[in-house]
Symmetry: C2
């Protein structure tokens, strides 16, 4: 038997979403539970996939099934296409597994032809409506199905209006519209070399194909990429009998939510228009009435609708977004689906539904999109002000939140202005580690280069500062201190505002609001903690970040980057002295200056984290990152250090690398200069001892050795660490429960994880680097070509944002299995950017990791995502 | 029962090399076949390993076994330690699995003490000899075992000589030496706080430990790294009764080879001294006699020795290097081992041994070290001139051979001087693709930066030009045109010579000799071809290279890099025009200029290769490699191209990458600019069609798409390639048997090789990049820190020279298995640098690859290595 490609609504149900699409499955489900749904059928997503497999051709098999379904549908609704008395019209709508609103094509009033239009006029007693519908159908069909430009039709319409001295569409008479239909059909013939199709079957097949085709239109592709929807899902096509809300005062149409989608309040929320079609509600020409008023206007219909709404919410156990039409006093339900809602509403609805006994806590947790929580954790613009503002440019939404302040073009200027009490936006082509201080001082950061994982983006997310990155529409000239858009040039001190959630830049001051964390937020997070299996840690380099993360519910630090501390003003001279040292003795001298500073840093962090584990990573970046590059800066530093310019310049040039990402960094530094690891270990351990003695906390330092690829290099550095740690404990007479582990970020480490686990007490997956090396993508450079990869449908999501489970994930799995084979109780975590991404967190849960670590502002998201993963598994 | 750590010579044999070391196993074997060997025992390599496991401590268990063996040995030789009449003395020598001559420590005359010295004097009737032996023993023991500096003893000796008005050691009397012994023992006591040990057992244990310790002395570590000897093998210790060749005119000592190690001639070759100890032969104070003359001096002994030599050669089936001593008319064999030989001798001996029926062809093939062949394929310095010359610096032996010529510091100057008929050495800090022309023109290349896989090294090996790379002892200033050593400054036009085999630089002109390929070479290569399973291809970008490789026996081209062609003077303008094109139209215009040039290149190569497969890789390097960097060059190019300086500079800056190795290169270029792949495919196919039509060859182009990490990107580019190829064949009406495949060089490609194999007809492992990404090592940068890795025993070989089987090899294995699962007949090859490395070739054979591809000058090595691999497997 051949495959079934077409289902009548009565043949499907809500579980068949993959096959019928969301809309089709819900129409079927509504039909099943007895709601009044205009009948129709669904051409499946498999038919769409097959259409592409067959080289964009609808096979005869599918055509036959559509033909049959069409005949049967005529029977069901007891109408006939092209009937002069009771003509049959259908809508043709896309509907994929995931909601993709407005991304694909729709054709309404299909079935209209020169006969049916007369039938419709008779039936509605409204020739004007009938001919308006026909001319709209011709225009829509021509646009969507055969791609005749809309503007050509608009030009004809304008000509007819001018000829008749008409300015508004609504002034057009039935005769005008009849004339228009004739002209439209002429245009069609001229463009296509054939008459406008009068056969409904022909119209329908063409429309179905157009919907299939629209699955791969550019905006659909972009939408899928933004929403992680696979390109091979395909769309279903829903063919449904038309009903008309514009058949007089006993007709109407509307949309409504079962609860308020902005606040979550449990009360019907929506609007409707009497004597109107769906488009009219959306188009905004007439102002719709609040749904409440339907109670008085059509009490019976309202009562019915309220019942249906309640039934649907109980049936689907979630807030519903419904469309309805009233045709001559009869209510039809056209669509239902889970309603989109704000983050605040999502929390309230979920908590309320549990309270109402409609869903379980687990179901409530699964209802919330973890990514949505972000909006609750950051400042936002006042909605009114935002609505009125027009962006001057758009970049990448690199770190969420809203910020407003004065432009500064260097980190120093930004830091200074902030000290003077100004609100500051740091604007740079791109940031580098030297800019850290200015980045901390700024309300927001704007860069013209770099992607979602550029330095600016990573740091901004880490410290919870709003950031718009890679805003290539803006030219930034740091020397001239100008920021140029196509419209205007902005200078130092000028006001701008950034929306890091949307990626928008505004050329003015916009008022912001602080985040409100309601009781529902706390309730839901509490439930998440009940269900999740994995621990949630944070990536934090300072007591401030650590404190923030604790407030958000972090249970430990999974990554403390010691190098971030080195960039601060009081230590950069010592680190530079260390780097340019000509021998071990000089290097040790410089390191001894750093020791008390690092120790103080760690003490600060331990004091905040108390009895919680703190994973501290030894120095990771290549040393040249700490050195100046311009001749003037080099000259100044040389003077400071008592070196000649040539000496220092020579040292700096000698440290340059062709591919620093694959260069002398990570534990390779400690192999060459074990004294660095020694100093850092001493700082970690002495700080622990002091906080244990002074505060009585049980400090749990986990010393993490980065970039391991071979067990012997780990062993070499671990020996230095352990020797130093034991020395400190002996000197101080205090025992510290420290551990030594490694990051798994080099592909080779995953392949030999069993050997590495013999030395490492824990693994922390560094999936940023692991992704770079597994794909051979430099994250600093990949943004330039990844757009081509999305456009050409090679990639559907950014592997730096979402773990590539097939490739990188395979290596992670191998590392987990091998690691456990050698050390069954090995502690496993992740500290790459992916640690805050819900889909990646679910993958980590399936791998059996013990914890994920993410930036402080992602902690609540991670808590929820981890709970969802645990519930789903 | 506990493990046996000590074996008497009579208990072992030659198969126990891993346990007893090479020397110990051979002493045992000689004992077994009835040769007169001074008896002794071997402390096993396992004892050494255990010594390190036990924290550098010889466990009691091993001590007991040594004690026992010592007692038994006294019985066997019927002598007693410290005996006043017949004292027993032993030598203590290291001996590991692999030969490491001179790397570890030796103690002779152990057992001497205040009594035994008297016994020895009596026995030899030579008190002077006895005391000289004792003072040497004290000095050697103190140096090797307890690390008292030699110079302190030398100072005492000088004082004694001065006191007695003696200038030569040989003038010292027995009394002087007796006095010296006393003073030496005083020094020992002063330094160590205890008397010089008189107990032979104590002496022995200390000496054994010293030998164990010497396994990890710095020069042994370096030697192991250079010779790929694992650090965990450990050394055995051989304790053997001393015999004395210095007991008068009926005594003597010598070394000899069973055949001439320089020429391979089948005739005893060696030398001996009468009344002398082994050291004397080596020391060169007395001139030894040729072994021939022993026939007259001691006819019986000579006859015996010649018999033993023949017996040993027949027994070991290989040319032997033997040491012997004659003590009072009795011949003792002290050592035998396979003799080191020149490459020419190795070939002759192997071929002769087969001719003599002593070994099979397989055994002959296994006897040759493939790496040694290299010496036969390149020019060399005239031996006499070389012997007299002193290097001015040492760098890495990056590409073998010898070259002499005038220094030039830029590629242009070098090319011009070469055109003028000069022999030229190109001297640069490092080379870049822009230097290609100058590199081709040069006799040799010297760089101060970069490792064995730097650009200079790779290109030089590819074109067979001698190269010394990374010679950091030399400062090269390209602007001033100077090359500065610690001694002298060299300028443009000065003569230098390079030994690319040894890595030496000479500050003068040295005469060179062209390579001689004898008939034995051809014979052996013929045998290799009989036995090998894998095909041997070559990496060649030009007809010249292809021709050279064919002469060396290549069977196809495994890698033709199309970008090398782009750097030539007549095409670089077009490629630059293509890169700075502002849109597809401009780009296509520039590409159309490149098409006929590329086509001509491919025709040239096809015409040389005839019916053999030619794998052509599509454009691989990042585009910025083709653009100038200096402002002056940019200005000139901008003028040429009708662009403003700022425009061009902007384009060039926009193309800069933080990590070009992981950037926009490989097939990523073709994803962005499919028109490049289109032009290249057209050139490949049109060239094939023309050569098929014009010459009648069956041209077999294999189009290779580089840097694949995801099947969809391969599919995208493959579609472009196939569409173009089919178009060309249709246009021309000629069918070409082309294939489309990919390089496996990104780790992700190995993990998803099954998916990739659905599109790829062949895989070629690009192990250079695969190694870079698997380790996270940039090969341009790793040289800076890899030295630390060798020194600290983390790495024992360069992963860019020898495939890392545990890591990179695991990925290769995965790719092979997955690839075959999806396409059982997939063609598998390797085209990375490793394709010419014998150990890597053996690994490729074990993986089941179909061919290896290497630079032309490695082809004979690969043929031999592939045969060895096939024979061994």
């Amino acid at each position: 038997m051949s495959r079934k490609y077409v289902y009548h609504f009565s043949e499907g149900d809500a579980t068949m979403r993959d096959l019928l699409g969301g809309k089709g499955a819900n129409l079927a489900e509504m039909t099943n539970i007895g709601l009044p749904v205009p009948q129709g059928f669904t051409v499946t997503t498999e038919a769409c996939t097959r259409y592409y497999e067959d080289g964009q051709n609808i096979s005869q098999e599918i055509v036959n099934q559509i033909d049959e379904a069409l005949l049967k549908l005529e029977e069901i609704v007891d109408k006939k296409f092209g009937d002069l008395d009771n003509p049959f019209l259908v809508s043709v709508r896309s509907g994929s597994r995931a909601s993709m609103p407005g991304m694909m094509d729709t054709v309404l009033n299909l079935g209209l032809n020169d006969n049916a239009v007369e039938g419709l006029a008779k039936l509605t007693n409204n020739p004007r409506f009938a001919y308006d519908s026909y001319r709209r159908f011709i225009q829509m069909f021509s646009d969507v199905v055969v791609e005749i430009e809309k503007t050509k039709f608009d030009a004809i319409m304008d000509a007819v209006k001018e000829q008749n001295n008409i300015t508004e569409d609504s002034e057009m008479t039935a005769e005008n519209l009849k004339e228009l239909v004739k002209l439209y059909k002429d245009l069609y013939k001229e463009e296509k070399g054939e008459e406008f199709p009068q056969d409904a079957r022909k119209q329908l097949l063409a429309a179905v194909e157009a919907v299939f085709r629209s699955w791969n239109n550019p905006r659909a592709i972009v939408y899928r990429r933004m929403n992680d929807i696979p390109g091979d899902w395909g769309t279903a096509v829903n063919v449904q009998a038309m009903v008309f809300g514009n058949m007089g005062e006993d007709s109407g149409t509307g949309v409504a939510f079962t609860r308020n989608p902005a606040t979550g309040e449990n009360k019907l929320y929506g609007e409707y228009l009497i004597d109107a079609q769906g488009e009219d509600v959306v188009a905004g020409i007439r102002t719709p009435n609040p749904i409440d008023t339907l109670k008085e206007a059509m009490p019976e219909i309202y009562k019915q609708f309220a019942e249906y709404a309640l039934k649907l919410e109980k049936h689907y156990k979630d807030m519903q977004d419904m469309e309805f039409t009233i045709e001559r006093g009869k209510l039809y339900m056209l669509q239902t689906r889970s309603g989109k809602r704000t983050a605040a509403a999502a929390l309230k609805i979920a908590v309320d539904l549990v309270g109402e006994g409609l869903i379980t806590k687990e179901e409530a947790l699964l209802q919330i999109d973890p990514g949505q929580l972000d909006a609750l954790l950051h400042p936002a613009f006042e909605p009114k002000a935002l609505k009125a503002a027009i962006p001057i440019a758009k970049g990448l939404p690199a770190s969420p939140g809203a910020a407003t302040g004065h432009i500064y073009f260097t980190a120093d200027a930004a830091a200074e202005a902030a000290k003077g009490g100004q609100k500051v936006i740091l604007v740079r082509q791109e940031t580098s580690p030297e800019d850290i201080e200015g980045m901390y001082a700024a309300e927001g950061i704007l860069t013209s280069r770099g992607g979602m994982t550029s330095h600016a983006a990573v740091v901004a997310r880490g410290i919870g500062t709003c950031c718009v990155a890679g805003c290539s529409e803006i030219q930034i000239n740091e020397t001239n201190k100008t920021m140029v858009t196509s419209e205007k040039t902005y200078g130092e001190g000028d006001f701008i505002s950034l929306d890091g959630t949307a990626g928008n830049v505004y050329g003015e001051e916009l008022p912001t609001e602080d985040p409100q964390m309601t009781g529902d937020f706390a309730t839901l997070m509490g439930w998440a903690d009940e269900f999740r299996r994995m621990g949630i840690r944070t990536n934090a380099d300072t007591p401030r970040d650590a404190k923030q993360a604790l407030d958000f519910g972090a249970e430990g630090i999974g990554l403390c980057r010691t190098e971030h501390m080195f960039f601060e003003e009081d230590r950069i001279p010592a680190i530079r002295e260390m780097i340019v040292a000509r021998n071990e003795e000089e290097r040790r001298k410089a390191l001894s200056k750093l020791l008390p500073l690092q120790k103080a840093d760690f003490k600060g962090i331990y004091e905040v984290m108390e009895d919680r584990a703190v994973t501290i990573r030894l120095l990771d970046p290549p040393l040249h990152e700490f050195l100046p590059h311009g001749d003037a800066d080099i000259r100044a530093l040389a003077t400071d250090m008592g070196l000649t310019f040539d000496e220092l310049k020579g040292t700096i040039e000698g440290l340059q690398e062709a591919n620093p990402m694959l260069g002398h960094r990570g534990l390779r530094l400690a192999v060459t200069y074990p004294e660095i690891a020694e100093m850092q270990t001493r700082a970690i351990m002495e700080a622990a001892v002091e906080v244990i003695v002074e505060k009585g906390f049980n400090i749990l330092p986990e010393i993490m050795i980065p970039l391991v690829g071979e067990v012997k290099e780990l062993r070499y550095v671990k020996d230095v660490v352990v020797k130093t740690a034991e020395e400190v404990m002996k000197e101080k007479g205090v025992k510290v429960n420290y551990e030594v582990g490694t990051m798994i970020e080099v592909p080779r480490a995953t392949l030999l994880a069993d050997e590495i686990a013999t030395e490492a007490e824990f693994f922390s997956f560094g999936t940023n680097d692991l992704t770079q090396m597994t794909f051979g993508f430099s994250r600093d450079d990949a943004a330039k070509f990844l757009d081509d990869y999305y456009e050409k449908q090679i990639f559907e999501s950014d592997p730096f944002a979402r773990i590539d489970q097939k490739g990188v994930g395979k290596l992670m799995k191998m590392a987990v299995d091998l690691g456990k084979s050698a050390r069954p109780d090995i502690k496993l975590g992740i500290c790459g950017e992916h640690g805050g991404d819900p889909s990646s967190i679910e993958f980590c849960n399936s791998l059996g990791l013990d914890y994920v670590s993410c930036s402080p502002y992602r902690v609540p998201i991670a808590r929820l995502a981890a709970a969802q993963a645990a519930i789903r598994s």
